[in-house]
Amino acid sequence: MANTEVSFVRTETLPPMAPPIGEQGIVKWLRENLFATPANGALTLVALYVIYVILSGSMPWIFNGVWNTSSLTECREVLDGTRGACFSVLTERWHQLIYGFKYPPDAYWRPNLTFVLMLVAIAPVLFFDLPRKMLIFTAIFPFLAYWLIWGGTIMTPIIALLGVVAGGFVYTRFVASNFAIGFFGAILAALVVWIIGGFMTPDTANENAMLQAVPSRDMGGYMLNLMLGVVCVSLSIPLGIALALGRQSDMPLIKWICVVFIEFVRGVPLITLLFVASVMLAYMFPPGTTTDLFLRVVIMITMFSAAYIAEVIRGGLAALPKGQYEAADSLGLDYPQAMRLIILPQALKISIPGIVNVAVGLFKDTTLVSVISMFDILGMIRGPILGGAAEWNGVYWELFLFACIIFFVVCYGISQYSQWLERRLATDHR
């Protein structure tokens, strides 16, 4: 084509070509990412040196570790002045770290079984490609888990389950005609079943039960952290959704109750709430009733994280275009249908990173119960293991490293799951 010509018509499409040889492969990657400029190269070398220093300090300590002595002094004799970790504290005290120091050793299978069943129960909730029928087991699991861990008479979980079933029956029966009758009728039905069941259960039922009863104060170790974490996360997500929707409500009373609750709980440190749970909450229950410390702590942590989750979900709701609400309305969907089918699936998807953030934070915050003298894994390390007898006094690094690792495993798992979930739900193709 001559320069003077203005008109131009392409008659054939140019074929695609491979990039130049210097612009591909590992050499290109190194040059672009590690040694792009002299300053960049210097930083790479400094970073490599720092990694070397850390590894050269920690690796011998870990690999020279001692795993089979019965006290710190014995361990030091074996090490004989060389650098090494005393991991034997873990092998000797692992059951205290996992189950606490009072849980009956011959019943360790019960929490173990519960843990395995929990994975089965939680699977259909987390992975919704699994058959929906598995959710039936998920519904039964809380009662089964209570019976396995706390033991005692099987009547307690059965009556609890019956109460929930009765409530559910009343709700589905009446909710179509009137929501209030359905909702409050369900609560009433459940209470009636529980009270009648409570009278029918003999006081001595716990003594000759199939599973030995274990009181809450005997629970401890990492088991306690997991129990608190799982119970509080699974309670606070629905409560958080309810609070977020309540905060958006057109009904001023509901709206203000939710706003006051959220703002109050968010404005108070969790430790304060836990102290309230351990010392003061008893005053708020009817006189004469003793409420389990575990239950009181669950209530407080749930309230705390529900307030945070509510705000995260409110962000998700606010991010949805108004058109989604209008489209749902214009098709004649009523409020519960619009929320359940259109609004919440999208708002929750947007909120996943925030909810996971709160869930991970909540799980780590369960270690705070060690301040109100519950012996979770940190309570066990600081109390009976380090402070009790003299044999392991001073083994800080190994114990806290262990605590870090088992928390990291769970939290990293949650984080990986949430990333998978986000990819799985990405249907908007933006």
């Binding site: 275009p321 209008e326 309305d329 214009s330 098709l331 004649g332 249908q337 193709h429």
Partner: protein, 255 residues
């Protein structure tokens, strides 16, 4: 127009709006609107932006509340009773400027959702109905894709199909082609024309004057929240009476 004449309009009344007034705070958006729409009528509403035309049709399915006067749709009086509102909304289909498809559901699920949950249609039957209407808007092959994978014109046609799946007796269109590329406007308008030819009662806010000429029985011009002029399309375009209408038409048809 010849074509319009062949489309029959019955004497039966579909929508009656009587002295309807609406305020946003103290701002008077709709003033004394009186409008009767017969079954099978196709009405095009035009006017400058902010004239209240979208607000008017959004009042008909209660997406906006009116404060004074009455609106009667298909014999049901619009009141604050939620049961009445849901009943009217299930009889009145609506298409939006920005389509408002549900991005987390497939095209087919978008179309079957309301029939299944509102009409309690069995899933299989709802899917058959949905496929029927997707064929009608000529995109049955996209049924299992997500809205984000479709072009704007295709999305708007899905939105029309989604409304039709509820077997509405009245369709409202709120600037259905304003967010589309010129190439895609025609495919949406063709769908709407086809719908009009089948005798659907339609209220359409649009600036597509060619569409208005071809299918409308009546063109309504609104300004400052009032109906300024209404007439048959031929007379409306060729012989506008009000100076405001003349100015408007000269501006949009001028180039």
């Amino acid at each position: 127009m010849a074509e319009a004449a062949t489309m029959q309009v019955s004497d039966e009344v579909a929508v009656t709006i009587n002295n309807m007034n609406k305020w946003y705070g103290s701002f008077h958006v709709l003033r004394d609107i009186n409008l009767t729409v017969n079954r099978g009528e196709r009405i095009v509403i035009c006017g400058p932006s902010g004239s209240g035309k979208s607000t008017l049709i959004r009042c008909i399915n209660a997406l906006e509340e009116h404060q004074k006067g009455s609106i009667e749709v298909d014999g049901t009086l619009l009141s604050s009773d939620l049961k009445n509102i849901d009943k009217i909304r299930s009889e009145v289909g609506m298409c939006f400027q920005h389509f408002n498809l549900f991005p987390h559901l497939t095209i087919l699920e978008n179309c079957t959702l309301a029939p299944i949950w509102v009409r309690k249609t069995p899933k299989k039957e709802a899917e058959e109905i949905a496929m029927h209407f997707l064929e009608k808007v000529k995109i049955p092959d996209q049924a299992n894709k997500y809205p984000g994978q479709l072009s704007g014109g295709q999305q708007q046609r899905v939105a029309i199909a989604r409304s039709l799946c509820m077997k509405p007796r009245i369709m409202l269109f709120d600037e259905p082609t304003s967010a589309l590329d010129p190439e895609m406007i025609k495919e949406v308008l063709d769908t709407m024309i086809e719908l009009a030819e089948e005798g659907m009662t339609m209220l359409c806010v649009t600036h597509e004057m060619g569409f208005a000429r071809q299918v409308a029985n009546r063109v309504i011009f609104m300004d400052e929240g009032q109906i300024v002029e209404q007439n048959e399309p031929e007379a409306f375009f060729n012989n506008p009476q009000s100076p405001r209408t003349q100015l408007f038409l000269s501006q949009i048809l001028g180039h």
